[in-house]
């Protein structure tokens, strides 16, 4: 099995809220961390979604070992570390690393400037968050003894904000036209715009998220940011054939034949059960029709698409590995 994205070091996972960004980012990290690879999974919105999904203590601003990667092809699995990036901590770290601003850094904090800068100064918050991600991808000698990763996965802000979030030099344009931060932002943009980055979009097969995905792709392209794949999440089971779906929708499935099959299979049949199964089939067929029409739109986007099933039991650790395997089988990792 080979991946569709062999050169990518930074996988950014975005999508409409609630479509499964955190779930997909976590599964992708597990999938990438096979074959002895080491992966860092980052979040930037202080939601502690990663801690929740892996059922561990809230993550600090510190890289923590989280899980073993997906075992694949008999090779030893790698590891997944996790980091929750906090803008205030990132600013103080940045000041210490680049300006040796020990005293001034503390003064900034004491005067509430750190809070101010990270809350309101246009774009500064995003630059700090993306700056830390950049640092994790391109580790250099300034961060002594830090772990090196083969790939970084970012559980990113939602589609509506992603281009702005990654387009740091534009964001700062109104504020810092010159100076070290501007220079820093330009260096970061070089990575974000390069083929070593891919922005993947998570969607559901529903109107709103698909529309948002299409808009998101357009904005990414306008900003010169590399569009990765579309991850279609929560796909319903596909247990009926196309012709049967059509019949199910019209209420034209062969009731007699189904009843006979059920008897053969040893099921206690009554009208309530038969009516129930037929009406479940109708709902399912209607939902599938909606999914199929949206799937066509996804296909027309012209970028690779990967599908993840809706897990009936919900997402637990086992479920994450199951999704990781599906991503690997389809070549996202």
């Amino acid at each position: 099995m080979s991946t569709d994205w062999p050169r990518v070091r930074l996988h950014v996972v975005t999508g409409k809220g609630g479509t499964g960004k955190t779930t997909v980012a976590a599964s992708l990290a597990l999938a990438l961390a096979s074959h002895g690879k080491h992966v860092l999974l980052c979040e930037v919105e202080g939601r502690q979604g990663i801690a929740r999904i892996f059922d561990v203590e809230p993550l600090p601003y510190e890289e923590r070992r989280l899980a073993t990667g997906l075992a694949a092809g008999g090779k030893s699995a790698g590891t997944v570390h996790a980091l929750s990036i906090d803008p205030e901590a990132a600013l103080l770290e940045y000041l210490a690393m680049y300006y040796k601003l020990g005293r001034a850094g503390r003064a900034l904090d004491r005067f509430g400037v750190v809070e101010f800068a990270t809350t309101i100064a246009p774009g500064v918050r995003d630059v700090l968050l993306t700056g830390k991600v950049f640092e994790a991808v391109q580790r250099n000698s300034r961060n002594k003894g830090a772990r090196q990763y083969d790939a970084v996965v970012l559980d990113a802000p939602p589609t509506g904000r992603i281009s702005q979030f990654l387009n740091v030099s534009d964001e700062l344009a109104g504020l810092a036209k010159v100076g070290p931060i501007k220079h820093q932002a330009d260096t970061m943009m070089t990575l974000f715009r390069s083929p070593r980055t891919a922005v993947h979009l998570v969607t559901l097969l529903e109107e709103m998220p698909v529309q948002e995905t299409a808009d998101g792709i357009e904005h990414l392209r306008e900003a010169g940011l590399p569009v990765g794949g579309v991850v279609v999440n929560l796909v319903r089971p596909r247990d009926l054939k196309v012709k049967d779906l059509a019949a199910a929708r019209k209420g034209a499935l062969d009731r007699g034949a189904i009843e006979a099959d059920l008897v053969t299979a040893g099921v206690d049949v009554d009208d309530a059960l038969l009516d129930g199964l037929l009406s479940e089939a109708r709902d399912h067929a209607e939902r599938r029709a909606l999914e199929d029409s949206q799937r066509k739109i996804v296909k027309a986007l012209g970028i690779p698409a990967y599908e993840l099933p809706r897990l009936a039991g919900g997402v637990d650790l086992g479920g994450l590995y199951e999704l990781a395997q599906a991503l690997r089988d389809q070549g996202l990792a």
């Binding site: 001034a104 309101i120 109107e207 199964l277």
Partner: protein, 397 residues
């Protein structure tokens, strides 16, 4: 942001596993009660807040209330079918509302334009000259378009405006409010506090300190601070910043007072909060935090809407029995349609069982919260007909 919601851990405890049947929520009684003046629908992102608010508003109008619904982010097709796809920040009548004439009911709808609402507040609080200065400042632009909480804050501002207008002119007797698509339901309640605490922040106060004058401002500490800032961000920053902060000072006293008024309105008797959740652990956990917060802040909770629930399967056939039977059919080499139906049934039964456990946990921890379960429709909800269906399901619970 208020300091204490430990969101990272699921609620556990002796009651967590015991299942309780919650009281059911009587939606029609709520919307028919003339004392109900404001209904706020909150919940975490994507659970169905916009759909629920629109469905409730339509139902209330068709039952004779004079309703305005303030939506935040309706799906494009829903916005079109309600005639509010143009963002002009004022309520427009919705056409196709049934039975309105004979009951005297009506429905207006609008979609919030956050930046415009903010601009209008600035314009109403400052002289034209000063307003222009503020509107063009890069810090204001960031604050009004991307500060976390601005959308929530502006939703409250707009609610306050609608309520004042309704009181004066009597155009509406019920306002239904959708809330912004933030991840956390609490953001809505925390927004005014967040904005004020930002404006009361040490740095802002320092830059404002008028009595001290520029010479005194350049104390060693602040000198170091501004020095470091210009070094990192470039020099023009400090200038923009001081202009902005000075301008804010004149405008924001009024701002804060309005936010407090609206907050008080939310605590008043005519207001009812509906918490919307999906039958998932994250959404229900958020709902639980919100319910607790409402009671701490003495805000009136009407109930919980569990939206997009898996419709209950018919019959007694368990998931395991269905899977076994499907396996038998497949091995016998026939009945592929029937085997498919059985697998679908098993999937649905499993989903329902899991959702019932999650709801049971919520009910065990919050037995006092009336609840209604709204099943998922097979397709999207994008027109008045769909909203009516959701409204019927809300009332049927």
């Amino acid at each position: 942001m208020s300091p204490s919601h430990p969101r990272a851990h699921p609620r556990v405890g002796p009651l967590a596993a015991r299942s309780t049947t919650p009281r059911s929520l009587d939606v029609d009684a709520l919307i028919d009660d003339p004392a109900t003046g404001i209904i706020v629908c909150c919940g975490s992102g994507g659970v169905g807040k916009t759909t629920t608010s629109a469905a409730l508003a339509l139902r209330a109008a068709e039952r004779g209330r004079k309703v305005v619904v303030l939506t935040i982010d309706p799906a494009r097709r829903l916005a079109q079918s309600m005639g509010i796809e143009a963002l002009d920040n004022t309520p427009r009548p919705v056409s196709g509302v049934g039975g309105a004439a004979e009951h005297g009911g009506s429905l207006d709808a609008m979609m919030l334009d956050m930046k415009r609402t903010f601009d209008e507040v600035v314009e109403s609080q400052a002289t034209p000259e000063k307003a222009k200065q503020i509107l063009e400042n890069p810090f204001y632009i960031a604050l009004s378009s991307s500060f976390a909480g601005t959308q929530e804050y502006m939703a409250m501002e707009k609610l306050g405006q609608l309520q004042r207008d309704a009181k004066q002119t009597g155009t509406y007797d019920l306002i239904v409010v959708d809330t912004p698509p933030s991840r956390s339901a609490l953001d809505f309640l925390d927004a005014p506090e967040r904005l004020s605490s930002f404006l009361d922040g040490r740095f802002v106060r320092l830059l404002l300190a008028p009595a001290r004058g520029p010479a005194r401002l350049m104390t060693a500490g602040l000198g170091l601070v501004t020095g470091a800032l210009s070094k990192i961000l470039g020099g023009q920053l400090i200038g923009d910043l001081q202009t902005f902060v000075a301008a804010l000072d004149t405008v924001f006293g009024g701002f804060r007072a309005r936010a407090q008024q609206t907050y008080a309105l939310l605590q008043a008797d005519g207001t009812a909060f509906l918490v919307v959740a999906a039958p998932e652990s994250d959404a229900l956990r958020e709902a639980a935090y919100f319910v607790e917060r409402l009671s701490e802040d003495r805000m009136p909770l009407a109930g919980l809407v569990v939206n997009r629930a898996t419709p209950a399967p018919a019959g007694e056939l368990s998931a395991d029995e269905a899977m076994t039977a499907a396996g038998r059919l497949q091995r016998a080499g026939g009945g592929s349609v029937t085997a498919g139906l059985l697998r679908l049934h098993a999937d649905r039964v499993r989903m329902c069982e899991r959702e019932a456990v999650l709801r049971g946990r919520f009910a065990a921890a919050h037995p006092q919260v009336p609840t209604v379960v709204v099943p998922a429709l097979a397709g999207d909800v994008h027109d008045l007909e769909g909203l009516r269906k959701v409204g019927n399901m809300l009332a049927a619970g």
